[in-house]
């Protein structure tokens, strides 16, 4: 193919000129390719790769963005770890992740299974479940803030109307975190449902047929056909969900401000506070960011390992 191309292009060239012209072509091809790539390389280098490296550098520095930064060794890490909010923030983030996994992982899968069985109103149900995902998060959050209001809020009214004790929702250390998880689940679960739904539609019907012939009931069919068939996507979504909940920010920012008594401070929110609320402690914020990066890389490594084993 290659020689053919050359011959059609330059029929008069003698054959011994071919090797240098081939290299020249490769050089020219590379120049063109990097010409096409340069804009993306610029964006990635400055706004994706450099910040990651800079995060690590900044975690060992003290800087106020005006004076030259000074190297302070592990001081930032010490500050962060000694902060009483540190343990609380990790505990909250892990609790949030765990609760969000129960609400935002198991429920969407179950919902998707039910939706996939229905023969009517499928378009409506799919539209409706994804609607909150389309709304700007601030809309969902401010809407739920009103629902949670202990005075004229809808949730307490409903609880009262059905004879249950009312809750303090965002104002109590017991319920604040779960309240945030509920909002977060409401506004995000549609994406999970639709992804599972697409995965369920790829399962060949013969498998259910065969399971049924073997006398498997509905729950056995789910456990022995549906779950194994969607394993890869379930695994992937588990990791994505963990990564997503690690970055919870708008919920504590807008609903509780981290309170009551730090009950809803998440790691991402604490990072924000160090850098942009407590008078620009960028070093401490970066140190916390480095820790979060390590955790997320560990999650990603586990995911790569598991999916590779699974594909084999």
């Amino acid at each position: 193919m290659d020689t053919l191309t050359l011959r059609t292009k330059r029929p008069a060239r003698p054959p011994r000129r071919r090797p240098p012209s081939k290299r020249k072509r490769a050089v020219r091809n590379n120049i063109t390719a990097y010409g096409f790539l340069c804009a993306a390389l610029f964006c990635f280098a400055l706004f994706a790769w450099w910040p990651m490296i800079r995060q690590i550098i900044m975690s060992f520095q003290e800087t106020n963005l005006v004076d030259e930064p000074t190297w302070v060794g592990l001081d930032n890490f010490r500050t962060v770890v000694e902060d009483p909010a540190f343990g609380q923030a990790w505990k909250n983030t892990i609790a949030f992740t765990f609760l969000a996994l129960i609400c935002g992982y198991v429920i969407p899968f179950a919902v998707a299974i039910i939706l996939n069985e229905l023969r009517h109103a499928r378009a409506y149900l799919r539209f409706v479940v994804y609607l909150p995902v389309m709304l700007p998060p601030i809309v969902s959050v401010l809407l739920f803030k009103w629902f949670y209001d202990p005075g004229p809020g809808l949730f307490n009214y409903v609880l009262d109307a059905v004879g249950l004790p009312t809750l303090a929702w965002l104002d109590s250390t017991d319920t604040a975190l779960i309240s945030l998880v509920l909002v977060s689940t409401w506004m995000n679960m549609g994406a999970g449902v639709l992804i599972y739904l697409a995965a369920l539609q790829n399962i060949p019907g013969d498998l259910y047929e065969a399971a049924e012939l073997d006398g498997a009931g509905i729950f056995k069919r789910i456990w022995n056909v549906t779950v194994p068939q969607t394993r890869l996507i379930l695994l992937l979504m588990l990791m994505l969900q963990i990564v997503a909940t690690m970055q919870v920010f708008i919920e504590p920012y807008q609903l509780t401000g981290g309170g009551p008594e730090n009950a809803t401070v998440t790691v991402a929110f604490l990072m924000y506070q160090y850098a942009f609320v407590y008078g620009g402690n960028y070093g401490a914020g970066s140190a916390l960011g480095v820790m979060l990066m390590i955790v997320l890389l560990a999650v990603a490594a586990v995911q790569l390992r598991l999916t590779r084993d699974e594909k084999r």
């Binding site: 193919m1 191309t5 292009k9 063109t32 390719a33 990097y34 096409f36 790539l37 804009a39 993306a40 390389l41 964006c43 400055l46 994706a48 910040p51 800079r54 995060q55 900044m58 939706l115 996939n116 069985e117 229905l118 023969r119 009517h120 149900l125 539209f127 994804y130 389309m134 700007p136 998060p137 601030i138 809309v139 401010l142 809407l143 629902f147 005075g151 009214y157 109307a161 409401w186 994406a191 369920l200 790829n202 019907g205 013969d206 259910y208 047929e209 049924e212 012939l213 509905i218 549906t226 992937l236 990564v243 997503a244 690690m246 708008i250 960011g289 990066m293 997320l296 890389l297 990603a300």
Partner: protein, 338 residues
């Protein structure tokens, strides 16, 4: 009846699943012809659908049908209650007066629906400016991202330069670290871009540059370009068509579906983003809609907040209405095969 209508496969299962008492019972009550018609009507929706966990025969059985309708009704009401009712409450809440909205028990429909609250909210939140800003950022991000990511994916997929795979790997690696984790160094970078020394705070480029650095877009586009056969491009090369013409005249027209997915993704992402615009666009004249709502919400009354939220939701709901297919395709595109 059901046996003859179905394939041999499902016919075999009838012995294990069909309720023996059902035919006997109906035979007593109705003549065979009516019974047959009823059965066929029942079968109509159960067939003609990909086989799922529950078999068509199970659905067609007397109890199967009853349970099916009960589940359908339950799902419809729960979904409407959970996902639509909050939005209904938001819209009606906006139209209630200040006293009515705080009243216990609440009213299901506002006593005197008041539409002027929407224009009040428009002015209080300065939604005109906010919306204009957000649209400007979203459209700019869309065009810039397409230009940057399409050319990069084309180069990586078809021109295959040296270190192309390493570059792709480094781009995909950024997907493991969500942007929020590096918000502090990214913010510092924006205040003083290395080498160039630009100060991008309150500039739309603070949104556009990072949005274009999206590994997921590159991945989607490159995978699509990979599926375009090289022969077409080689033919063009023989004819002496320069690479950029190949991209514009051959690749882009074929890639319309994936371009749609990337476009919608980018626009929705910019519209929904909160933390990054909060950091880099602090000037109230430059704010995005989300940040503007958040900043002003504390200072206005509940019904005005709700009116603001209603207005802010409308653009995204419209986008969803018209581009539902692209959005749902994009949602499953990366995750299923990734």
């Amino acid at each position: 009846m059901a046996n003859t209508a179905n394939t041999a496969d499902t016919a075999r299962t009838v012995h294990t699943t069909a309720k023996p008492e059902a035919p006997a019972e109906t035979r007593k009550v109705t003549p065979p012809s009516a019974h047959r018609r009823k059965r066929r009507r029942r079968a109509a929706w159960a067939d003609g659908h990909a086989r799922t966990i529950v078999s068509p025969l199970e659905l067609k059985s007397r109890w199967g049908t009853r349970i099916y309708w009960a589940v359908l009704a339950a799902v419809l009401s729960v979904f409407t209650l959970v996902f639509v009712f909050p939005l209904y409450w938001m819209v009606t809440g906006a139209m209630k007066s200040g006293e009515e909205i705080a009243q216990m028990p609440p009213t299901l429909w506002p006593e005197n629906p008041d539409f002027s609250v929407f224009s009040d909210a428009w002015e209080l939140f300065d939604i005109g400016t906010l919306l204009q800003n957000t649209l400007y950022y979203a459209v700019g991000a869309w065009l810039f991202t397409l230009a940057v990511d399409v050319t990069a994916a084309y180069a990586l997929s078809k021109l295959r330069p040296m270190f192309g795979n390493a570059i792709l790997g480094a781009m995909l690696a950024t997907l493991m670290i969500p942007p929020i984790v590096v918000m502090i160094p990214a913010y510092v970078t924006v205040t003083d871009v290395p080498i160039f020394g630009w100060q991008l705070l309150n500039s739309p480029w603070a949104i556009w540059f990072p949005v274009a650095a999206n590994g997921f877009n590159i991945f989607l586009l490159k995978r699509f370009f990979d599926s375009i056969p090289d022969e077409i491009l080689e033919a063009a090369e023989i004819d002496g068509v320069p690479p950029w013409r190949v991209l514009v005249s051959i690749i882009l027209p074929i890639s319309r579906p994936i371009l749609g997915v990337v476009s919608i993704f980018t626009i929705v992402m910019v519209f929904k983003d909160f933390l990054w615009p909060l950091l880099v666009l602090p000037d109230s004249e430059k704010m995005t809609l989300s940040v503007g709502l958040s900043q002003t919400a504390g200072a206005v009354s509940q019904n005005q907040i709700m009116a603001g939220l209603v207005i802010a939701s409308i653009p995204m709901i419209i986008v969803f209405f018209f581009f539902q297919r692209s959005i749902m395709a994009g949602l499953t595109a990366g995750s299923l095969k990734g």
